[in-house]
């Protein structure tokens, strides 16, 4: 599923009132308390351990192509078999997991930074500047992200950094909109006025008072962005617009493997699919749990 769906996951505006540092803290504590959040965190820990610690105990050759070992079914020596280049699937999953997770995390951090800065500026300045900045966001949001990518990948030679930059360009929009909404309600609060009366400059108010109080919204969105980025990149590599072969990630493994599904090589296709889906589910569960725990209106039910 394509990205830009963070908007869909937010039923209406996230209420901005009765939330401060204390509520944030309470929210963070109850994330670990919700069932979905626990499952999500457990899954993420397991997947990270598998991808980053796995290669330390499970050594495989992921460098040289060995056609003699190609498409071996699961069995002794290769628990999940080998792919068309003779790479061990389990080892490949670990390697692919590293880049998929790194990609998701990088896009998420970049998105949070860009979206927060943009949204905070628009929300704090208000008026004409805000209207103009938001119309820019609306404009980009009106173009489906996959359509946007179909155009953009033609303008850049794909490598890990351009892919991260492209995915960030698409996902900061929703974040900036949410942060702007938060800042808009926060900036009229008494403590912000008090800070201003005491002589705080705009930069200080935005940095010390507005952004930290919008942290909950930013965190929720950053979590969803990880899931979205991994999925969107998978769609991109399916359309043949991903990174070239020596690179390994679950999306590429999955879309390359699809060619072999009809030949009966199911072990090339389903393992990366399962890993990818589990990871995306896990981050969505965490995101949902964080949002529910921050959302006062929902917590009551």
């Amino acid at each position: 599923m394509a990205a830009g769906e963070a908007a869909l996951r937010q039923p209406g505006p996230v209420p901005g009132d009765s939330r401060g540092r204390l509520a944030n803290l309470r929210g963070r504590m109850s994330v670990a308390g919700s069932r979905g959040g626990q499952v999500g965190i457990g899954l993420v820990v397991a997947i990270v351990a598998f991808s980053f610690l796995g290669p330390l105990v499970y050594h495989t050759n992921q460098v040289t192509v060995q056609l003699g070992l190609a498409t071996l079914p699961p069995g002794a020596g290769h628990p999940l078999g080998t792919d068309a280049s003779g790479y061990d699937i389990v080892g490949r999953l670990m390697l692919g997991g590293q880049s998929s997770l790194e990609l998701g995390l990088a896009v998420s951090v970049a998105t949070a930074i860009v979206g927060t800065v943009y949204g905070a500026i628009a929300g704090y300045l208000g008026g004409f500047v805000d209207a103009l900045m938001m119309r820019v966001v609306d404009t980009f949001l009106a173009i489906p992200s996959l359509v946007f990518l179909l155009i953009l990948v033609n303008l850049f030679t794909p490598n890990m950094w351009t892919i991260i930059a492209l995915l960030t360009m698409l996902s900061w929009l929703a974040t900036s909109r949410l942060v702007r909404g938060e800042v808009l309600t926060l900036r009229t609060r008494e403590y912000v006025q008090a800070a201003r009366v005491m002589g705080s400059g705009s930069t200080r108010i935005v940095r010390r008072h507005l952004v930290p109080n919008a942290a909950g919204v930013i965190a929720v969105n950053a979590t969803f962005t990880i899931a979205d980025a991994i999925l969107l990149y998978a769609a991109l590599s399916f359309l043949g617009l991903g990174l070239p072969p020596p690179h390994a990630d679950w999306g590429t493994m999955l879309s390359n493997g699809l060619n072999y599904l009809f030949d009966g090589y199911w072990w090339i296709v389903y393992p990366p699919a399962v890993m990818l889906i589990l990871t995306v589910v896990a981050f969505n569960l965490i995101g949902d749990a964080v949002r529910d725990s921050l959302d006062v209106r929902l917590r009551r039910r």
């Binding site: 869909l8 039923p11 119309r135 404009t139 009106a142 173009i143 769609a235 699809l258 599904l261 009809f262």
Partner: protein, 317 residues
């Protein structure tokens, strides 16, 4: 409310103008490659110059944009580099097919999501609710191309129930004449939105079930079936139906994938093919049409929400 609607309409116009500027600038970031992709990598500089002047690619950007703006207003989206046909003709051929695909699959998604959401709301926190939530989470987190291929593997390769390709006919009538071939693309696209609709419907229905008027209706002795179908469904579906308008970009993104997998001759496939051949006029035209449709969709969603729900009042802000 009139003021609000006028302001929303004004914003939409601004966004449409923004769309034209953005897509235009973006697509002209690499002017040279259009000629190269059409004439081949070995094209001589002279032929490239002729190509560029034929399509006005050597003029200053702002002049090209004004020309483009003038053309668009007159319904002219330029000529495809590769297919040598007017883009407006190409798009006009594809739009009805997309309406069929998107329309049927959205109707299917809603037909499943609305009852499913109510059922989950009624059975909240029971085992079946958790199972359905798990199912929609999994669907939601699944790459749609993977889902499409698995459908083909099961229903076409194994069971031979449905063909793996969309109807091959180019005319709309030909496509509708072969409904079996439509099944898999429609199901794929429906599942793109089903998960988010049903989750949204669930939380909306939970909210409605807690309202006093539902308690009143139940106290009057109305059978539960009627309470759900007449009172809960209508009230809870309102925000979901307006959300359909807002989810348009996601549906289109899903359509690009579904059309690529099933070779369905819609706008998504056209765009994908244009992207691989650097056919900028097509990309520009399609992006504009989709962007404008998105803007109109979200405007329509807002307006219908304001009209349908008398409790909604918009102040300034």
């Amino acid at each position: 409310m009139t003021g609000y609607l006028l302001r929303r309409a004004g914003q939409s116009v601004a966004v449409v103008i923004g769309l034209m500027i953005v897509t235009f600038i973006m697509i002209h970031l690499v002017p040279g490659s259009a000629a190269r992709s059409v004439l081949g990598v070995r094209a001589t500089p002279g032929r490239i110059a002729i190509f560029d002047s034929t399509y006005g690619l050597n003029e200053p950007l702002y002049r090209q944009f004004l020309t483009y703006l003038d053309q668009v207003v007159h319904g002219n989206f330029g000529t495809s580099y590769l297919l040598q046909e007017p883009v407006s003709t190409l798009i006009a051929q594809r739009v009805p097919k997309d309406l069929v695909l998107v329309g049927i699959s959205t109707a299917l998604a809603l037909a499943i999501a609305l009852p499913m959401g109510i059922y989950q709301a009624v059975r909240r926190d029971r085992l079946d609710d958790h199972l359905l939530t798990g199912a929609s989470f999994t669907l939601y987190s699944m790459p749609d191309f993977f889902f499409a291929i698995v459908l083909i593997a099961i229903f076409s390769v194994q069971l031979h129930v449905f063909p793996p390709e969309a109807p091959s006919a180019t005319s709309l009538g030909g496509i509708l004449a072969d409904p079996r071939a439509l099944v898999l693309p429609v199901v794929t696209l429906a599942l793109v939105t089903l998960a988010s609709y049903s989750r949204y419907m669930r939380s909306s229905a939970i909210e409605v079930l807690a309202q006093d008027y539902i308690r009143v209706v139940r106290a009057k002795g109305v059978p539960e079936r009627l309470v759900l179908s007449r009172h809960v469904l209508r009230n809870a579906a309102l925000p979901v139906v307006t959300m359909v308008g807002l989810s348009f970009p996601n549906i289109i993104a899903g359509a690009v994938i579904a059309e690529e997998v099933f070779n369905y001759p819609g706008m998504g496939l056209l765009m994908y093919q244009a992207s691989t051949s650097h056919d900028f006029p097509i990309l520009l035209g399609c992006t504009l049409v989709i962007g404008v449709a998105t803007v109109v969709g979200s405007l329509a969603a807002d307006i219908s929400y304001a009209i349908l729900d008398p409790r909604v009042h918009y102040g300034r802000g």
